[in-house]
């Protein structure tokens, strides 16, 4: 589904990603973790071409991201993405947020788009808020609406970039619950997150990054179970975030 081969990227003299290689198979849930500044958000943004890469090759469903013959917009429309700061469009109602790309990109009629939008709003428990504006929702509600917005495009996989990092603690679970449900339905997912409870529960694989490199890429059982075999930096990271 997603193949990342030897990609590198630098901002000026700062190397953000160094020779990263990994993949996500259909139906797989992969959690990416690591200290801040380790390049995990950049990595996930390269998958739909939001961050261009300097070297290497990324393929989604066999199509090269940023390749010459690739319709970038069309490819992106098939890859759902959820952002740390929700990024709902403030001038559109919640339902319009869910329908705009269906109408403008997938060319659905507004009836079709509304029906689909309401279906997913219901799934994330927000059907009562369809007519409200994003600014009138709580952070947790906004993030659930943002997930619904991505699902409306019938994505072949979902990318989550620290979806709970900007939330108040009491709102984290309502968003994680939606993500757990998606995972249990067999959605192909790649999630950058510090929520190790979520990783333990639904991840098939865990990737650990530091300084722009993938240091660990292993099964969940191995990552959390066989801690002695982890790299020093992963051990330090785990010790820091699991001990509170």
């Amino acid at each position: 589904m997603i193949e990342i081969n030897n990609i590198s990227k630098r901002y000026g003299s700062f190397q953000v990603l160094t020779d990263c290689t990994t993949s996500v198979a259909k139906g797989e849930v992969v959690v990416v973790c690591g200290p801040s500044g380790s390049g995990k958000s950049t990595l996930i943004k390269t998958i739909n071409g939001l961050e261009p890469i300097d070297k290497g090759d990324i393929r989604v469903n066999g199509q090269s991201v940023g390749g010459r013959g690739t319709d970038q917009s069309k490819l992106r429309s098939k890859v759902g993405m959820v952002f740390q700061n929700f990024e709902l469009f403030p001038h559109l109602s919640v339902l319009e947020n869910l329908t705009i790309a269906q109408i403008r990109v997938l060319k659905r009629s507004s009836d079709e788009a509304n029906a689909c939008g309401l279906k997913y709003l219901k799934r994330v428990g927000l059907e009562a808020h369809a007519a409200k504006y994003p600014g009138q929702l709580s952070g947790g509600q906004q993030q659930r609406a943002a997930i619904a917005r991505a699902l409306c495009m019938d994505p072949i996989c979902m990318l989550f970039d620290e979806p709970t990092s900007a939330l108040d603690p009491e709102m984290v679970n309502e968003v994680l619950d939606v993500m757990v449900e998606l995972a249990s339905e067999g959605t192909t997912m790649m999630c950058v997150t510090h929520e190790m409870g979520f990783a333990r529960k639904v991840a098939d694989r865990v990737i650990f990054m530091d300084h722009g490199e993938i240091l660990e890429d292993t099964s969940k059982e191995e990552f959390f179970g066989n801690t002695d075999a982890r790299t020093d930096r992963a051990k330090q990271f785990l010790a820091r975030i699991l001990h509170h």
């Binding site: 992106r76 098939k78 890859v79 952002f83 700061n85 403030p90 504006y133 009138q136």
Partner: protein, 248 residues
Amino acid sequence: MGSTYKWNWGIFLDPVSTGEPATYLDWLLAGLQNTVVLALASSAIALVLGVAMGIMRCAPNRWLAAIGALYVALFRNVPVIVQLFAWYFVVPEILPVHMGTWIKELPSMTQMMALSTMCLGLYMAARVCEHIRAGLGTLPRGQRFAATALGLTLFQAYRYVLLPVALRVAIPPLTSELINVFKNSAVVSTIGLLDLSAQSQQLAEYTGQPYEAFLAATLVYIVINWIVMVIMHRVERKVRLPGYIGSK
């Protein structure tokens, strides 16, 4: 003067001394009409061109951004009266001969109105451009990411997501620009175009009643701009976003 000045507010209803079948009030109204037409026409040019330039300045393309920056540098940094003289005295001469001749053969009133509108419109566009750039600049980078991640093209992202929000943010400074253009339009009296300020000056000279003439002009400018403020305030309230910048 002072105590010896004889006020005469009835002067506006007197027939003008040039022999035309008009009152002095008619002169003021004719001036008002020119001012309003000039301000609205140049605002329309400024809005369209300014938005286009503002987008270009923010575009992820060096050449487009450079064109926008150059435009602003040229039209914002030269005094508007110098620009007006350039439009009126220089532009018709440096255009290809047949175009220059065409302009010079227009009725003088039309010619002055057209050149003044271009001058004020292009000057104001440079300022609108900067307000749009500031508006776009307030939007988080993630908004463009979110829009394009959904499959919208960059053009669609601007059209449906970024500009609608940036324009809302830019409404208060754009209101100031609109008020400014009504006032700045008085500069056209220097090339002989009879706008509101020129007519009041003429009125003062013909009647010897400068206080009445300039007080009337002052009052009319205040009323026009008060109307502009009320209208723009309504627009602002109408498009205000719940829970977003500027809302309660």
